[in-house]
């Protein structure tokens, strides 16, 4: 720790970076094309992104060991989105997302051990082990939702949001594939940021955490001023397949994945920026890596060792505050008491 303190005095306090210009739809202003990153912020974003990355890779490992079952949609590659977003909003703002939710669950404040325990279905999980991968909740974070019903609903929502000028940012994390179909084959118009039609939109480089942060700040300010909703398309990429049952290479080439990893990996981009501008040293960032690895290992240990929720929990929380009633189990001689 002493060595780090000594070294810190030699670093720059902050640096200014050029970020990619955002395409805009129905907007006169644009998010800025430069961003200032302080050393402290840089280290924080790095640590959070690395934690999400390692957490997702650990989840992948646990899934292949069959310690995690069911559904699992991994977020690695898209870390800049959740981290940049969180950096651009307040903890009191409300966030809701779809099934690829582990990153957001972490950035919204839940510890890794609770996330992994939820994935393994243990009682230490954030939804007591009953929600699983898709249904994680935290303060001001409403999950974690499946999307079968959300077809066409988005346009009705755009309508209501625009009509009532609701301060809402609609975010599309465009990772180029909807399950196994590339966007070119699935969408008549791939300019998703324009699909809000009467709602203004911006298209953002989703692999650059600073770009995401500045765009989010811009969008949040717009909404908070009472002008109504906005759409934000984040162009990003996911390294894993859609879910754990998808190898991810039947609809795209390994070369493509490799290319993105070597050229646009969000963690690598941030690291290069910080090191090249004297905001941090490689050793320092390596130390953070070690810390993160340890945290994830501990969390995985907890998630594997924690007991499953008791069978009585099966019937709980169906209704609120009812006198306890009986819920039939797998056969007619098994009954669970439902308690709320």
């Amino acid at each position: 720790a002493g060595r780090v303190l000594l070294a810190a005095r030699n670093f720059a306090n902050d640096a200014s970076f050029d970020i990619k210009k955002c395409d805009v739809h129905r907007l006169e202003d644009e998010p800025p094309t430069t961003a200032v990153l302080t050393r402290e912020e840089g280290l924080k974003y790095y640590k959070i992104m690395q934690t999400v990355r390692r957490m997702e890779l650990k989840a992948d490992q646990l899934y292949k060991q069959k310690i995690i079952r069911g559904f699992c949609h991994l977020y690695d590659g898209q870390e800049a989105c959740c981290v940049g977003l969180e950096a651009g909003i307040n903890p009191t703002d409300h966030v809701i997302t779809a099934y690829r939710a582990h990153g957001f669950t972490y950035t919204r404040g839940l510890p890794v051990r609770e996330i992994l325990a939820e994935l393994t279905g243990r009682r230490g999980g954030c939804a007591k082990g009953k929600g699983g991968s898709m249904h994680m909740y935290a303060k001001n974070f409403y999950g974690g939702n499946g999307i079968v019903g959300a077809q066409g609903q988005i346009f009705e929502t755009y309508n209501m949001a625009a009509l009532w000028k609701l301060p809402c940012i609609f975010i599309c994390e465009n990772n180029r594939y909807g399950m196994g179909t590339s966007v070119e084959r699935a969408a008549a118009s791939t300019d998703y940021y324009k699909r809000g039609d009467f709602i203004p939109g911006i298209r953002v480089d989703g692999m650059d955490v600073l770009c995401v942060r500045e765009a989010t700040k811009f969008a949040a300010a717009y909404c908070r001023s009472g002008k109504g909703p906005m759409l934000m398309e984040l162009q990003t990429y996911r390294y894993h397949g859609h879910s754990m049952s998808d190898p991810g290479v039947s609809y795209r080439t390994r070369e493509e994945i490799q290319e993105v990893r070597s050229k646009s990996d969000p963690i690598m981009l941030l690291k290069d920026r910080m090191v090249n501008n004297n905001l941090a040293s490689i050793e320092e960032l390596k130390e953070i890596d070690v810390e993160v690895r340890k945290e994830i290992e501990d969390a995985a240990q907890f998630a594997t060792a924690d007991p499953e929720p008791p069978l009585e929990e099966l019937g709980n929380h169906i209704y609120c505050r009812e006198p306890p009633f009986e819920v039939r189990g797998a056969n007619q001689w098994i009954k669970y008491k439902s308690v709320s």
Binding site: C126, A127, G129, Y142, M160
Partner: protein, 394 residues
């Protein structure tokens, strides 16, 4: 030959229904010239001009003075009263739906926007999934959401939101979040001219979904108490309002709020020979069947209004069947997969040795709700009476 009609002030008016009827009736209420309820042409043999007459007679309950001063209200007025009480008591309560601002297509929300402001009573776009989705969001954030679906027939676009989101919210978040503050109201049931898409009774679709509650009142007094209970209840509730009763049912209803407990069936009339179970409008049909059975067969019927479809009061029904040994369930919804099948299944599990005859279900046919054939489709008192006779003679 005109049959005599008994009419008295503020009591029930009896109208003889039937397709082949020689008598012509005119009824008056309270002697007033403007009090004609069902107008029939007095020209003899003029069947073609006859207006359709209801298949039931509304039986108001005796005035209940337990809750303070009462006022004469019909069903839609009792709903308005309940909503008024809710908005007054709960500052977070909001009412929304299609056309609710001007008062609603059935006048259930008349005057509320003027009284409570446009932030609390407002229209939504024509989007049922949006209405319920929006309601879920309001409720998750701790406010009381009272959503109106204009006809129960239109609730299906919102089915995913109700079943997959609202019903499971508490369970899937481990009680971290819930949308218990949501109540969905919808006009329900046959109305004489509703045809396929203004007459449906979809309670069976939702009965299959743990996590929500479903309630159907039979009268204005019941409606206000049950609706207030639904709004208070910390679970998402669906409240179906029999639209044919909106004007036809008139009772003395307390002005102040009062609560009728959910999941408690009511025995309207005790009996010893057969149990009749129904909900909503059909309760009035089986009441008439019970008096027909008493007069013509000397059979004593126990009449039960189920009131809450989910979770339903298994104990009351089973206790009754254990006593009588015979059960008839009647509803307008189609027979196959209708809620009578659930009741029947549970009762035969619990009361098998008590049963003297197979459980009888008198329901709508397995067809879409017809337009021109409505009178043939609905389970009227004659069909119920016939089924009852068969059960007695089993």
């Amino acid at each position: 030959m005109a049959a005599a009609v008994v009419a008295s002030t503020a009591r029930w008016v009896r109208v003889r229904a039937g397709v082949v009827e020689a008598a012509r009736l005119r009824c008056q209420l309270g002697g007033s010239r403007f009090g004609r309820l069902f107008l029939l042409p007095s020209a003899a043999g003029d069947v073609a001009q006859r207006r359709h007459v209801a298949h039931f007679t509304f039986h108001p309950d005796p005035e209940n003075r337990k809750y303070g001063q009462t006022q004469k209200m019909n069903l839609f007025q009792s709903i308005t009263s309940a909503l008024d009480n809710s908005l007054a008591k709960d500052p977070t309560a909001v009412i929304f739906g299609e056309d609710v601002a001007f008062g609603g297509v059935f006048r259930c929300t008349v005057g509320l926007r003027d009284k409570y402001g446009k932030d609390r009573v407002f229209n939504t776009p024509l989007c049922e999934q949006g209405i319920v989705g929006f309601g879920i969001g309001v409720a998750v954030n701790g406010a009381t959401a009272i959503a109106e679906i204009q006809f129960a027939d239109y609730i299906f676009p919102a089915f995913d939101q109700i079943v997959n989101e609202a019903a499971k919210y508490r369970y899937r978040s481990g009680d971290l979040f819930n949308c218990g503050g949501l109540t969905i109201r919808a006009p329900w049931g046959c109305v004489g001219h509703g045809a396929l898409y203004h007459s449906q009774c979809p309670e069976a679709f939702f009965a299959h979904c743990p996590g929500i509650k479903i309630v159907v009142p039979r009268s204005p007094f019941q409606a206000k108490g049950l609706l207030l209970s639904c709004i208070e209840d910390k679970n998402p509730c669906i409240f179906f309002e029999p639209k044919i009763l909106y004007r036809a049912a008139v009772e003395q209803v307390p002005v102040e709020p009062y609560y009728i407990p959910l999941s408690q069936a009511e025995v309207l009339q005790e009996g010893s020979d057969v149990t009749l179970v129904a909900w909503g409008t059909q309760v009035h049909v089986i009441r008439e069947v019970a008096s027909m059975a008493r007069e013509k067969l000397g059979v004593s019927c126990e009449v039960i209004d189920l009131k809450t479809i989910l979770p339903w009061d298994i104990d009351t029904v089973c206790k009754s069947v254990a006593k009588t040994g015979r059960l008839m369930i009647s509803h307008e919804a189609p027979l196959t997969g209708g809620f009578a099948s659930e009741i029947s299944s549970t009762v035969q599990e619990e009361c098998f040795l008590n049963l003297e005859a197979p459980i009888s279900r008198v329901c709508g046919y397995d067809t879409p709700f017809p337009h021109i054939f409505e009178t043939f489709y609905i389970p009227d008192k004659w069909k119920c009476y016939d089924a009852l006779r068969k059960m007695i003679n089993y």
